[in-house]
Symmetry: C2
């Protein structure tokens, strides 16, 4: 999906909601456990219930990987099921030396390798240029680079002072020499709203993937006020608050209700 | 495997060789392609040929992941086949917020999750404390944290100046407040030999996992002179130079010859 297409989806759906598919097999409603692939059955119901409200889906790869080979099969089925008008994110936080990053890129971007064809993958910046650019070798695919994450440990290294700046600012500036905003997004935690204005100055046109609204406590209003651009420019992720809104047979209905609350708030911010 | 056991293996085998199982299905000798699981058949032959010369094996997870579900099966078989006296490293470069890192830890450390029971996993430090410590919740398991990597991109962020130091030094110092040398190693590229003495001062007792000898051009002599401790303290990895020493039916024999060259050199440095 291109920058322009993503932007158009946002204004068409009046939403910059990304639904995080952090699907925990131990948290599934019990009536799904008899399905052949309960994780996929759950994801399918969540996607059916939210696809008109969300512009992106973000499977958290750890949840699938922890199930071994069958987890990767659930992931394949889930990805195939996501409608074509939704942007897809492999939240994998990969990054290694060049020849290895090339293989991680192949995993998530080349359907003939592992049966996956994501639009984008999250990448950790620590290893620098040649750990990131192999993901950009796949035309039309995106890198979503960790910048300032939502967790408390983000203070340990991301906020170390480098000259007059902090490390995450160096990451944002440096990475922009590797790719334009049509191929590069940044992860900025919603719990870091105070820094969002500064980040928006450093990266005026890049989409920001913002986790941390909901279970982690970030404010959608603050994130939107500081992060929205004329192209949209934000993908705000919610996972647990949507997926586990109910543990009963009405889980999909309740997931939709939660997604709708967020979407309605987003529609308002987009119109302002 | 404990620190003491690992150290004992090093002096018993007169080796601190780690064989990197970066097994590329496109580089397998053609006579293996008729096997049911050619990747495993290759790894088994490499392990048979090198197990008395190596103290550790390091499957590079990207190579397995890029094969989809069947890659994870090859990885399971390979890990089960590695002899118990060898330390095992999941070279995965993982790291995410706490609940997600817990799942990555479960993937590699809990055999009931994904059928894997590694001794250790490589972790990227960018997300800080709560992205790393979930891996330490598994008793007796190790974190091998990226410090100063072997690739050219290591200069982009790892070597950024933070006060009087560089970022990788902050990583090494900070991480030592999270775990002792009995649970924590650092990745230091062999191509960074100039910095190894400084790193050894900052982490006098931690094992260092050193890739980059061989195909990447690092010097075993330099690494050993600056990195060895009375407990050994080094795991020097070689992957491509061993795995692909020959592409013929003699690949395992040639792999052994390459491993033996390294082991003999290591035996000499250990005795000095």
């Amino acid at each position: 999906m291109t920058y322009k297409e993503l932007s158009e989806q946002i204004f068409r759906k009046k939403s910059y909601l990304c639904v995080g598919l952090d699907t925990d097999p131990h948290k599934l409603p019990s009536h799904l456990l008899n399905e052949k692939d309960p994780v996929f059955a759950f994801n399918r119901a969540i996607i059916d219930a939210t696809a008109d409200l969300a512009v992106a889906y973000k499977p958290n790869i750890a949840f699938y990987e922890a199930q071994g080979p069958r987890g990767w099969e659930s992931l394949q089925r889930t990805l195939e099921y996501i409608p074509a008008d939704c942007f897809t994110i492999a939240d994998a936080k990969r990054g290694d030396i060049g020849n290895t990053s090339s293989l991680y890129a192949r995993t998530f971007f080349d359907p003939e390798a592992a049966g996956l064809n994501f639009d984008s993958v999250t990448v950790a910046p620590y290893m620098g240029n040649d750990s990131v650019t192999p993901f950009l070798a796949y035309e039309g695919k995106w890198v979503i680079l960790l910048a300032l994450t939502s967790n408390s440990g983000s203070a340990d290294f991301q906020r170390q002072p480098v000259g007059e700046q902090e490390l995450f600012e160096i990451v944002i500036q440096t990475a922009q020499t590797w790719a334009g905003p049509d191929r590069l997004m940044f992860v900025v935690g919603a719990t870091q709203a105070d820094e969002l204005s500064r980040i928006r100055e450093l990266a005026p046109d890049n989409f920001l993937l913002v986790p941390g609204v909901g279970a982690q406590g970030g404010s959608l209003a603050e994130v939107s006020r500081r992060g929205l651009t004329t192209a949209g420019g934000l993908l705000v992720n919610a996972s647990r608050s949507i997926l586990y809104a109910s543990s009963g047979t009405d889980f999909a209905e309740q997931a939709r209700a939660e997604a709708q609350l967020l979407q309605k708030e987003m529609a308002q911010y987009l119109s302002e």
